[in-house]
């Protein structure tokens, strides 16, 4: 249940007492409450859980992590090749 689904903010709307937004989940548009991410802008990616935005996704961090993992995978391949050569 704590699963959050990443989606893109496509429209910000003010409804009664709660800041709401239309979120695009890979083509499916749903409304969610963005009260907890006041600085979010249209085009930002966010994680939605139970109709509520948990946080704005940090795209730079995502790329950094992937690069880091790529390095680990590459390094490991090299090490394995080295070990096989010994």
């Amino acid at each position: 249940m704590c699963l959050g689904i990443p989606g893109k903010i496509v429209e910000i709307e003010d409804s009664i007492g709660m800041k709401m937004a239309k979120i695009d989940f890979g083509g499916v548009i749903r409304s969610a409450c963005i009260e907890a991410i006041p600085d979010a802008k249209i085009g930002d990616y966010t994680i939605i859980h139970a109709g509520f935005a948990l946080n704005v996704f940090n795209e730079e961090e995502a790329m950094d992590t992937l690069n880091l993992l790529q390095e680990i995978a590459d390094l490991d391949q090299e090490l394995n090749i080295d070990e096989q050569n010994i």
Partner: protein
Amino acid sequence: MNKISDFSKSFRDSHLVRGLVDEIKRITTQNWVMMEICGGQTHAIMQYGLDQLLPEQIELVHGPGCPVCVTPLDQIDRGHAIASLPEVIFCSFGDMLRVPGSEVDLFTLRARGAQIRVVYSPLDAVKIAQENPDKQIVFFAIGFETTVPANAASVLQAKALGLKNYSILVSQVTVPPAMHAILSSPQNRVQAFLAAGHVCAIMGYWEYHPIADQYKIPIVVTGFEPLDLLQGILLSIRQLEKNEHFVENAYTRAVTESGNQVAQKTIQQVFEPCDRNWRGIGRIPQSGLGLRKEYAFYDAEKRFQVGHIQTREHEVCIAGEILQGLKKPFDCPAFGKQCNPTKPLGAPMVSSEGACNAYFRFSKSTIS
């Protein structure tokens, strides 16, 4: 192009999965037991067969992070009693419908005529309250820190709208007290924690430093995709092999040290810590979040007096031990026999985050 769907795909990249698994194998020299706290992670691990890719020395045990599983039986029975009242429309997350109470489940009650609606968000329940002014709308507010802000927002919205017919039946729990309970148990086997990424998206991980220090245990904030989980495992093993123990973040795209402070403020505005019973585990001090006095009006437990609740657990179910990482679903004599997703004896077989359900659905699948 939708970058995020690319991200999700990227975090499932099979080449990188293999690279990480190889690296984990390369650095693992002895047996280690680690616990993923969140049931969503348990499901991802089983769904992608990650447990089978790991070296045999690494044992993953499954934590208590399944809100449906730990909701105490007396509260479920109370929910059933409230849902049966003729003036009530009882709203719940779908996972809760098949969870067995002492006598029935919500699904059965609905078949008998009770007004029970599945909602995706507590805010949907508020909308139902707006549309049905002559009915009492009760939302079953279960969940960990991830869900609590949404539950709080529903109360705040009901208040803003001046709704008098909305209330919540609260059964919310928090992770750090459960970590203390697990680690201080004399039977504990857990040597490292994969902390629940979405709980930390809200709460950050500043609360975990004293736990890592006190119990000398690595804690790695971990996400939900295969690469997230493997990265969490890799960082934990690195620490364990070097005899180190600190808090690390392997889910930086969603989590910061301090978390989402706006959401934390919303939580604190509406709720305050209280003692809570965890189903199968027992009472954990200050592990719950109950409504503050100022919001007592929205407390369904106070609004509906449903009399004395007498609970009765099924005697063969070992859910409590599974939720504490002491046993695995296969250790249960009822697993897959008397107990299965269509006829569950305990909550972990029902919930999409329950370990028994994950084992039942995925125990043969692998990633390749």
